[in-house]
């Protein structure tokens, strides 16, 4: 059996976004972290860390510690601080990097509230727009390279 190396750290930012801002709503996260149940209330008052902005409908919170291989997480929402907690999402998160992120989107559907995992979405920017911009820039680069090659060919022909 090998010596256990120092566990790498993990700073996990959990974000849950909702289409509408509901006053009094509370979002709670429970993570089973290396044998310890950790609870966290996500904030939407600008104090949640991880770039939290007040009252933008995005609840944010951070968990820190030694990086686990797999991290079971459950998320529940209360309509008000005293209201009953409604579980909206649970799953097993696999941390990839020291500063990782779990993004959830709250959906108010016919069956009630639930949440779905979404792609990385930096604040104020849609993930698909970021993807499209990257791909478009890649096409731009390809055109630039083609232009350089054509230019080299024309220059070579002139010199020949």
């Amino acid at each position: 059996m090998s010596e256990a190396p120092a566990a790498p750290p993990l700073r996990l930012t959990v974000r849950l976004s909702a289409d509408a801002v509901v006053p009094g709503r509370v979002v709670e996260v429970e993570a089973q972290w290396l044998g310890e149940a950790r609870r966290l209330s996500l904030r939407d008052d600008g104090a949640g860390g991880g770039g939290d902005l007040p009252a933008d409908g995005i609840f944010v919170g951070e968990l820190r510690g030694a990086r686990p291989s797999l991290l079971p997480i459950a998320v529940a929402v209360r309509a008000a601080p005293e209201a009953e907690a409604a579980p909206v999402w649970s799953g097993v998160f696999r941390p990839m990097v020291e500063e990782d992120q779990l993004h959830l989107r709250l959906i108010d559907g016919p069956g009630g509230l639930r949440a779905a995992e979404t792609l990385a979405a930096p604040l104020g920017e849609r993930a698909d727009a970021r993807e499209a911009a990257w791909t478009a820039a890649g096409f731009g680069w390809a055109l630039f390279v083609l232009g350089v090659c054509v230019g080299l060919a024309l220059l070579g022909r002139e010199r020949a």
Binding site: M1, V92, V145, L146
Partner: protein, 532 residues
């Protein structure tokens, strides 16, 4: 530089490029698994376990109680290398193969370009294009190191290109068959790509009435000698894999630079072709007009590109157009080719070699041109391809609670939600632990189907038996001496129940929090009942 010097200088340049492209693999040794996704753990397990496989791929240390039969391996080449290098630490072998695989593949492609008439430094473009393509990056990140062990595809392409010309000789046909067979044994995808190259180049040669009977016949016989046994073994394996999910439609975006999201949720699977390769390949009709035989190579590359798009193209409106790869689904075993994007290995090789030859043509008139193009290629690979910045490392090792001897049954939950890869992740994790604790386990470490993994049924049985207070008897009857509980992964109620019920097996279980997971190992004392 003389041609002889170019061979070795090309080798050194490709080695340096491979070390940079795969870093930190070259200096990670045995302390860290280099790669990003969970198949990496399964690959390291295979490197560790393959040396002990018996006839028919039988492994008595996994898939307990009966053992597992791994007759349908992804890569026989990797299994053979693992056996030859069994005296080395498997993590060290894996990390070293990342560098060696990229290096040898790139060098072979560079030599293929040299055979087409490209001289250094233009020929280096071929090595960079093939050995460090988007698919090479995917293989590194996904943990499919055997996809990188392929200097055989360049060998096959070069030898068949020579064999299919008027001056082709029997030795060229034999080498083409050898390249095809070795590619097939390395991974089925490379074998199928080699077959596509052979068919397209051969058809073009026939069209121009250049294909001669002797080299073609030698190649055909050699290919049959490799291919037929492979097909019989593969399709006749007892653990025939059922493929139910449709092969996903692809698109041109598969060839564009990979994004951060692809690494996060898409298994990093990208066939990113460097823009420099594409630009030069598209200028081949002008730059290589007088070069003999470039069209057939270009066409073979194009055929691979079209096949890489998958069986259908799905525009946003939802209409689906059938593509040539759909025909592959009709042949026996074709449905197993679930990642048609890997056909792009062929175009990265052939278009890369032609790009190098085109750069050589440019360099003949403008000596600085190859250097400019190499600089563009470096930007392609480093910035747009994102390597080596996308590489990650994971600490290597198993939780210390596993210390001990005898078969151990891992107790993990079954997923019930939409995290459809969770079972595979757990399987990879448990199997990778075996690399270090070396105890027999219940998992079948290769099957992608949870219902074919013996651990699942054993876990269900153990949970039921433990609830009746018969856990120890259940484990003994199946040859296990310990159960390893992964408590964090269970829901709170199940966790509490299992901790209580399994506590009856061993009041002082081994508990560890190292290596990224809490593990509780309960060992059955031998005086609590007879062994079977």
């Amino acid at each position: 530089m003389s041609p002889r010097q170019e061979v070795w200088v090309g080798g050194v340049v490709m080695l340096l490029a491979a070390v940079i492209f795969t870093q930190p693999a070259a200096w990670s040794g045995s302390g860290a698994l280099v790669g990003r996704h969970f198949d990496l753990q399964g690959t390291v397990w295979l490197i560790s376990a393959a040396p002990r496989f018996g006839p028919g791929g039988l492994d008595l240390l996994s898939g307990l109680p009966e053992g597992a039969r791994y007759a349908r391996l992804d890569s026989w080449t990797l299994a053979a290398l693992a056996r030859a290098l069994s005296w080395l630490d498997p993590v060290r072998v894996h990390n070293a193969l990342q560098v060696l695989g990229v290096w040898l593949s790139a060098w072979a492609a560079e030599r293929f370009a040299a055979a087409l008439g490209a001289r250094a430094p233009a020929s280096w473009l071929a090595g960079l294009s093939y050995g460090m393509s988007g698919l090479a990056a995917s293989a590194l990140l996904e943990g499919h190191v055997y996809h990188l062990l392929d200097p055989f595809l360049p060998l096959c392409a070069w030898a068949w290109w020579r064999a299919s010309r008027l001056d082709g000789r029997a030795i060229h046909g034999a080498l083409a068959a050898l390249g095809f067979g070795a590619a097939l044994l390395t991974t089925a995808y490379h074998g199928v790509v080699a077959a596509v190259l052979v068919v397209v180049i051969g058809a073009a040669s026939l069209w121009r009435r250049e294909l001669r009977a002797v080299p073609a016949g030698v190649a055909a016989l050699g290919a049959l000698a490799f291919g037929l046994p492979y097909v019989f073994v593969f399709l006749g394996a007892p653990d025939e894999v059922a493929v139910s999910a449709p092969v996903p439609a692809a698109g041109l975006l598969a060839f564009t630079p990979p994004s951060a999201e692809l690494d996060r949720i898409g298994h990093s699977l990208s066939a990113h072709l460097p823009a420099t390769t594409l630009a030069l390949a598209s200028l081949c009709p002008f730059l290589l007009r007088e070069h003999l035989g470039w069209r057939r190579l270009w066409l073979a590359g194009a055929a691979c590109a079209v096949l890489a798009l998958g069986p259908s193209l799905s525009p946003p409106q939802g209409a689906v157009a059938a593509l040539p790869a759909a025909a592959l689904q009709l042949i026996e075993g074709g449905a197993l080719l679930r990642f048609p994007v890997r056909f792009a290995w062929g175009c990265s090789l052939l278009w890369g070699a032609l790009a190098a030859r085109a750069a050589m043509a440019l360099g003949a008139r403008l000596p600085a041109a190859p250097f400019v193009l190499i600089a563009l290629m470096v930007v392609d690979l480093g910035y747009w391809g994102g390597m080596p910045g996308r590489q990650r490392s994971q600490p290597a090792g198993a939780p210390s609670a596993y210390a001990g001897e005898g078969p151990v049954l891992d107790l993990l939950p079954e997923h019930m939600g939409r995290q459809d890869e969770l079972s595979a992740q757990l399987q990879a994790l448990v199997c990778s632990y075996q690399v270090w604790h070396r105890r027999p386990i219940a998992d079948d470490c290769v099957t992608p189907f949870p219902d074919r993994n013996p651990r699942i049924a054993l876990s269900r049985g153990l949970v039921a038996a433990a609830a009746r207070g018969e856990g120890a008897a259940y484990l003994r009857a199946r040859g296990f001496v310990a159960v390893a509980l992964h408590p964090d992964l269970f829901a709170a109620g199940d966790r509490a129940r299992l901790l209580t019920q399994l506590g009856a097996l061993d009041p002082a279980p081994a508990i560890s929090l190292d290596h990224g997971e809490k593990i509780v190992v309960y060992t059955i004392s031998s005086d609590r009942g007879p062994r079977p």
